[in-house]
């Protein structure tokens, strides 16, 4: 090792680190401040539209793990009535291939990401839990018709008053006492 630059390299590095003291940190204090996620998020859930589903079973063939279980019986006018539509979200990898393959737009990905449960068996979603509702909204992944219903994504590129994530200046820490993580 030679001190090729008389120690100037070390000093330059330390000057850069010192300059960062005056930039605001980019931490988002999660339970108190939540960012808007992408409109096309593949989230942690599936959303099913019971009025559009015809029970064709294309999604079950598209799933690479075989997670979707579908059971139907013939009703009047030789349409299928769906008895059982279950997705094991514990094994699902949320790749979205089932959403892409549905010919009737009856499946979409969900926007919730706080879906932790206490028991593994609770992760198997039956058709009531999967149906679309106010607490179970669809995301715009492969379904551009839902683009308007979702807020814009907050990007780190833009400042926070432009709807982005980056803060202009933050003193030591700015938080309200939330209910705890």
């Amino acid at each position: 090792m030679k001190f090729e630059h008389y120690g100037i390299g070390i000093v330059k590095g330390m000057a850069l680190t010192f300059k960062h003291l005056f930039r605001s940190p980019i931490t988002v204090q999660y339970p108190d401040e939540k960012l808007n996620i992408s409109r096309r998020t593949r989230g942690n859930e599936l959303v099913w539209f019971p009025d559009k589903c015809t029970g064709c079973g294309t999604c079950t063939k598209a799933c690479l793990q075989g997670n979707i279980i579908l059971a139907t019986h013939r009703g009047e006018e030789s349409k299928f009535i769906v008895d059982k539509f279950e997705v094991d979200t514990g094994r699902c990898i949320f790749c979205g291939l089932c959403v892409e393959s549905c010919p009737y737009n009856a499946l979409a990905m969900g926007v919730n990401y706080e879906c932790a449960k206490y028991r593994r068996a609770d992760l198997v979603m039956s058709k009531e839990k999967l149906a679309v509702s106010d607490s179970h909204k669809p995301s715009a992944y492969y379904r551009p018709q839902f683009d308007g219903q979702l807020p814009e994504q907050s990007l780190l590129l833009y400042d926070r008053d432009e709807g982005g994530q980056k803060l202009k200046f933050l003193p030591l820490s700015k938080r309200k006492r939330g209910p705890g993580a």
């Binding site: 390299g9 330059k12 992408s38 096309r40 593949r42 598209a62 790749c95 992944y141 990007l155 833009y158």
Partner: protein, 368 residues
């Protein structure tokens, strides 16, 4: 009179803060000097090649995501290109440009991760990592905007990409490409002339030119040893022949050169992204019409691209049915690691960690 010493064996085990995954090395040490090294892989084997024999061609794409999980887009691109070569499918123009933009963004992100953790192995306590990750967050936000996920994208399809770009993508990426050179300048200010870093990595772990060519190394490891070999220029795939960029090489093949080649490649990738953004057609189809259960003609093919880690190739044998008969993956990092014995023996334990970090290993690729 030489002192009588004894060799002892140290197991740098599968759980270690610096092996970048579950990788095991059995070392024989003489004091601090390494006399023999034996890598043991297989702790992350998931049987991707076997699983691929029972999945359709579209269903294999999420499986290929999980090979080099830090650079999923390029894994997808390599696989899709191999299948398109087999079946003779033509990809629309707009989709080609989108593929190139995302491959180069992926290269920037993967190199930032590699350099950041290389410096973490050198001992700088996470500071370079966090500075580089701030920019990587911006890239991951862009990926999130397009395909909904931040790490394992499943974005490329056989015949194009799966969805078109949203409207807010172009202004965002223009802002990113305009801001990025300033941050690369900051990284250079922090690291490039730092004497301690130079002392740790200049002249350490030299991979001579002949050895690199003989073992079949590829990627930044090969280019740092002085061989000007990049598949994007030598055997251009997709539309890389329309862009103007350079291939950085190193001279000595030591750890410093591997780091510097990666930093320069980041700048070249930004050049390619700028050119692609200006040449891209504003509207058009983004995927060729390929059915869900798609049957390519029987035959075999080998498709390869320049992934951030090297030459990633897919060898597909098809018998005309909806699933491939055999899929074999050629991982660049596994071949690069075969040089570990030449590079490490004679150096100290501290250097072993540095050399291993500079080769930028991801266990998902090695073990498949």
């Amino acid at each position: 009179m030489p002192i009588k010493t004894e060799q002892f064996y140290l197991n740098v085990g599968p759980q270690h803060p610096s092996t970048h995954g579950v990788f095991r090395l059995r070392l024989s040490l003489d004091g601090e000097v390494v006399t023999d090294v034996e890598p043991i892989v297989g702790y992350l084997h998931r049987g991707i090649e076997k699983l691929a024999e029972t999945r359709t061609y579209t269903q294999i794409i999420p499986l290929t995501d999980r090979l080099d999980y830090l650079a999923s887009m390029t894994d997808n691109v390599a696989y899709c290109m191999a299948v398109e070569k087999l079946a003779g499918i033509k990809v629309p123009e707009r989709a080609e440009y989108i593929r190139i933009i995302f491959s180069e963004l992926m290269r920037v992100s993967s190199h930032m991760m590699a350099v950041g953790f290389y410096l973490n192995d050198c001992g700088a306590f996470f500071t370079p990592v966090l500075y580089m990750w701030r920019e990587r967050e911006k890239i991951l936000d862009l990926f999130d905007m397009v395909c909904g996920q931040r790490l394992l994208y499943n974005y490329m399809r056989v015949g194009g990409v799966s969805q078109d770009l949203p409207d807010e993508f172009m202004p965002a990426i223009k802002k990113f490409v305009a801001e990025m050179p300033r941050y690369i300048g900051e990284y250079n200010q922090l690291i490039k002339q730092n004497e301690i870093f130079l002392a740790r990595s200049k002249g350490v772990g030299i991979l001579p030119r002949e050895t690199a060519i003989n073992i079949g190394a590829s990627g930044p490891v090969l280019r740092a040893s002085g061989v000007k070999w990049d598949i994007r220029k030598m055997d251009p795939y997709s539309i890389y022949d329309r862009f103007d960029f350079e291939i950085p090489t190193g001279e000595a093949g030591d750890c410093y050169d591997r780091y510097w080649v990666r930093m320069q490649e980041m700048t070249q990738s930004l050049r390619i992204i700028e050119q692609a953004m200006s040449q891209m057609p504003a509207k058009g189809p983004v995927c060729a019409d390929v059915p869900q259960f798609f049957r390519p003609p029987a035959g075999e093919t080998y498709g390869y691209i320049e992934a951030p880690k090297g030459n990633l190739g897919f060898y597909i044998v098809s018998d005309g049915s909806i699933a491939p008969y055999r899929l074999h993956i050629y991982p660049p990092t596994l071949i690069n690691i075969t040089a570990l014995k030449d590079m490490v023996i004679g150096w100290k334990v501290a250097d072993l960690i540095i050399i291993f970090g500079s080769m930028d290993v991801v266990l998902g690729e090695i073990d498949r």
